[in-house]
Amino acid sequence: MKKKKILTPKIIGKIIVAIIIIAAFIIIPLPGVVSRYMLKVYNDGLIYFIAALGLSVMLGMGGQVTYSTAGIMGVGAYITAILSTKYGWNTGLAIIVALIAGAIFSFVVGLALFRLKGSYFSFASIGLTNLLVTIFSNWMEMTEGPDGITRIPKLDVGFMKFTDFNSYFRLLFIIAIICYLFVLRLRKTSYGRALASVRDNEITAASFGVNCYMTKVYSFVIAGVFACLAGGLYAVHAGFISPEPFKYDQSAIYLIMIMLGGVDSTFGAFLGASLLTIIPEKMRWLNEYYKLIYGVGVIILMIFMPMGLMGIIDNFKYKMIGKIKKRKQSNAIETEAN
């Protein structure tokens, strides 16, 4: 009789990952574990991760290169900030409104932008971000222009307030995990397959009943809602926003996060966001050389690992599995011979 194995390597792996996640959730925000400054960096990293996850749906699953992530994050941030400072709204409610507005905005803009294909779409998305930044910088009565909006209250969801970085870390952590699970699930649905088929070949996709245009628009909406969520969470975390972090070059950094992590992997978005948040902090001593090294790094990345870090890990895994399979086969042949 065959013994049923309960602890397969896969399950053991999952248990280990779960333990690491829970440990991080509990330990990192404990007083004295990391400095207040680093905790803020981690919080920013989680926020970037949420925005990057939305982009991974568009870029990784759908193959659509967009430079609008930061701009749309700005939409979420500014709506949250304006509602909570100028109109005295509760911040939790302001973020929810920002999400709904972000969804509608992305839908309408997506309908227009996806009239264009491929790199034409990408160029138009640069225009979109520049347009948004122009509004953030010039609509003085609402956005306070380049000076930005100050004194944004901390997040308040009615029964709970998140006034310190520690409790906010835990909240961001939970939101990030929910977003992560959402994207993982999406990959396994007919929508995930539709997006992948659009990425690989629009003619094949259409021949299998996929409405390529709307499929792309929906991916823009998903990315937009994630970006607005990240923007709202950013505004109440920083307490201050200006047009600066929502500019086009920041959008490019989100693209690099996804490509560094690996376009085919949801976990890659986490790797990319973490590395691009932590590395700049650790390399401050390089001063002006930092940008130089960064630029060279991106070029090397694109040449030598087009599928990112997860691509390298997967390749390694395939090779190992291949070896194990071969060994099993040769074992089987040996036993047969016996």
Partner: protein, 252 residues
């Protein structure tokens, strides 16, 4: 009783100065394998693209199960039951075999994305897949990448994927090109299986032996024009057809 599944009526199409369809008429019946042959560049693939909606006609009409579909976009035609394969196999190359096959079952189920997100399950297609793979004559681990399959198996699997969607008509573009004798035999068996279950098949093929063996009717194109139609025996002896093939590059 014969039922017309697909009708092309007086269709015209030109690319710049190149006329690729000129007053083309064609009817495909339920349970029929309809051969579409002609020399290279005759406009066979173009006609398939016009039928499936990849290209728009310049003039003329296309009817599917009695309804006009001339102005429907490609994805809507697919949802109505027009399936197809491609001259060179087109899969999602970065995805697993399973994901690629599920593109076919998704088309069959036609669930909304929301339904799919919340885990609505379609009919189990595994037994059906097993049956089709029995005919196709090979097995695979469906978690493997699609690109791990050799070319011939990819071409066979493309037909299987189209059939999993349960179309009413399948348009098949040169399924046997580049395959060995056994694999060609498997292609014929799969197409037979399709028509036996009531589908109609439009088959573009250069392998004359296969065309003559399995087609019920044949339409011959040359320079975008229908130069002959009829039973395989009639086509084989038609002087205009022989002329067209001998006049162009010899493929027969």
């Amino acid at each position: 009783m014969e039922r017309v599944l697909l009708e092309v009526r007086d269709v015209n199409k030109a690319f710049g100065g190149v006329i690729t369809a000129k007053n083309v008429d064609m009817k495909v019946m339920a349970g029929e394998i309809h051969g579409l042959i002609g020399p290279n560049g005759a406009g066979k693939t173009t006609l398939l693209n016009l039928i499936s909606g990849i290209y728009e006609v310049d003039s003329g009409h296309i009817f599917f199960e009695g309804n006009e579909i001339t102005n429907l976009p490609a994805h809507k035609r697919a949802r109505l039951g027009l399936g197809r394969t491609f001259q060179s196999p087109r899969f999602m190359n970065r995805a697993s075999i399973k994901d690629n096959l599920e593109l076919g079952t998704d088309l069959r189920n036609q669930f909304t994305y929301i339904q799919s997100f919340f885990g609505k399950k379609g009919a189990d297609f595994y037994s059906e897949l097993e049956e089709l793979m029995e005919i196709a004559g090979f097995t695979f681990d469906w978690n493997e990448h699609i690109t791990s399959l050799p070319y011939g198996q990819q071409k066979l699997l493309e037909i299987v994927r189209a059939m999993l969607a349960h179309p009413t008509v399948i348009l098949v573009d040169e399924p046997a090109a580049g395959l060995n004798k056994q694999e060609q035999e498997r292609v014929s068996l799969l197409l037979r299986k399709a028509v036996d279950s009531g589908m109609g098949v439009v088959l573009i093929e250069h392998t004359m032996e296969m065309v003559m063996n399995i087609c019920d009717n044949i339409t011959v194109l040359n320079f975008g024009e229908v130069i002959a139609k009829g039973k395989p025996q009639e086509i084989a002896t038609n002087p205009q057809v022989i002329e067209a093939y001998l006049g162009g590059e010899n493929d027969a």
